[in-house]
Symmetry: C2
Subunit: 310 residues, 2 copies
């Protein structure tokens, strides 16, 4: 059997990808409580919000405050999503550890959602890099290529185009790149094939896989990615988020289920699962009425599970 | 990446493992409708019920009638679960294509559920084989080793004991053997390790993996098993079944999600997913009020999915 990497990192994206997709606006204090508890449970990377206009995403209007709090926690990598140069300037002002610029490899999706072609987003990456370099800040820049496995609007998205755009983001100044299955079209074989190529091209600048669980395959996809050496994954506590095209469907891989799978397979994430499940219960209570997902919270950890991280 | 087998078989166990776990008693005519539609959708192996006393499982009291109907469908392998020689005699009378004797590798679970030690179940297998041979029937005998990845009662179940019991079943007369994660303790690494050993020992007499989705890992586990060459899996339409120890938890892998993953990965199952999803909607309606599971039914097939089986 293919050996698995000894450790992997989960980036919590529930506070961004999760909260932006649901109507409930979580108060700033609750977000900070979430981040503190996630940090206490061993999570070391959290996407705390997004610098988009508050009128578009009122759920994330407090991103600057949340980020300021997150930056007080030792050893935590606090990242934000930025849709453009303007957002990047705010991320730089706020000293985010990392800012992620999403690009949609589907032209149709890119035009519909960002009103830009993918190559115009690449150009924006160049401007972001110039702004970062001019600012003297240490904020890392990640380019995230979405709809990497297909798109509900456009249908097929060619592998060659995904890889071209990924490399174009690096050439334009991204420090690292990631690939996202935005709409839950990925399957393990496609993941193994695409991620193997992505890692060959980008080397250790290829940093992360982002899988939505829309069709139930997120964890199988992570396992396939692990086998080709990917060691960082986005996930959302309680699987919050969902997909606007599939009412009731899951969002990202549920952090707690992913952390369980990794730990059970002997891949160390540094996460204390008992603490994470306690946080999951709190977050689900704060979001009462919103659909949550995942399986581990109902069943609990196996009695044979080693509770302390290796 | 590890090449996947070109084809795999899904055995539908919703009518047995699913229905036995829920209070609703599905009328015989509905069960036959289910089987006919599953057959029309391309399913070729169905566990139609269980020959246990009707007072224990009234949901499956009509197994003989359902089996008689299933046997009229061309090319369908109709199997039944039998807990002991008495059940096996009924399966032989009814000309089942296959009868499955479950054995629990956990001594604690075996005593609690079957009131027999695992080795007493092995002895029963010997009597079943003698009865089959004496009957002149062609009914195949499968020995299914459950709690193969651990047990809620006993905790750890040793790999050596699982493999010893699997081989003992073959030695006692089983034609084939399978392994089951009865309580959702398996994870992909454990599956790859155990199934690889099982296939080395039993060769092509090792026939099937049975994964409960209690902790969300059923599909990842199937993917791991596929990679070591396993090509037959149990699954339950709409994931019905559940686990008595985890209220609300999923049952088996959902047939439709599993069939989707396999087809998407290029592993042919012969199943028409559009027809299967239509059947899933009917079964969910027949079982109104019972929890159903799975993800594909909400999201639908990707627009890029090839609908006709290869």
């Amino acid at each position: 059997m293919t050996p698995l990497p000894p450790q992997a990192q989960i980036r919590e994206v529930g506070l961004r990808d999760g909260l932006q997709s649901i109507p409930t606006v979580l108060p700033t204090a609750r977000k900070c409580e979430w981040i503190a508890a996630a940090h206490a449970a061993g999570q070391r990377e959290i996407e705390v919000g997004s610098f988009v206009p508050a009128r578009l995403l009122p759920q994330l209007a407090d991103t600057a405050e949340v980020l300021a709090y997150a930056k007080t926690l030792p050893g935590l990598v606090s990242s934000v999503l930025v849709p453009n140069l303007k957002g990047a300037e705010r991320a730089l002002e706020c000293d985010a550890d990392l800012m992620l610029l999403p690009l949609s490899a589907s032209h149709a999706h890119s035009l519909a959602n960002l009103r830009k072609t993918p190559d115009e987003v690449v150009a924006e990456m160049g401007r972001m890099r110039a702004a970062r370099d001019a600012s003297g800040k240490k904020t890392l820049i990640e380019g995230g290529v979405g709809t990497a496995f297909g798109c509900t609007l456009q249908g097929e998205v060619k592998v060659a185009e995904v890889l071209r755009l990924m490399m174009a983001l690096l050439d334009a100044g991204a420090d690292r790149v990631s690939l996202a299955d935005t709409v839950g079209y990925a399957h393990p074989r496609a993941v193994a094939e695409l991620f193997e190529q992505a890692m060959k091209l980008a080397g250790d600048r290829f940093c992360c896989g982002h899988f939505h669980d829309t069709r139930g395959l997120a964890l199988a996809n992570v396992y396939a990615a692990l086998q080709v050496g990917v060691t960082r994954f986005d996930a959302s506590l309680a699987g919050i988020g969902g997909c606007p095209h599939a009412p009731g469907a899951s969002g990202n891989a549920a952090t707690e289920d992913l952390a369980f799978m990794l730990a059970a397979c002997g891949v160390n994430t540094g996460i204390d699962l008992t603490a994470l499940l306690a946080l999951r219960a709190n977050v689900a209570a704060w979001l009462q009425g919103e659909p949550t997902h995942g399986a581990l919270w109902r069943a609990g950890l196996p009695s044979t599970f080693q509770r302390t991280p290796a």
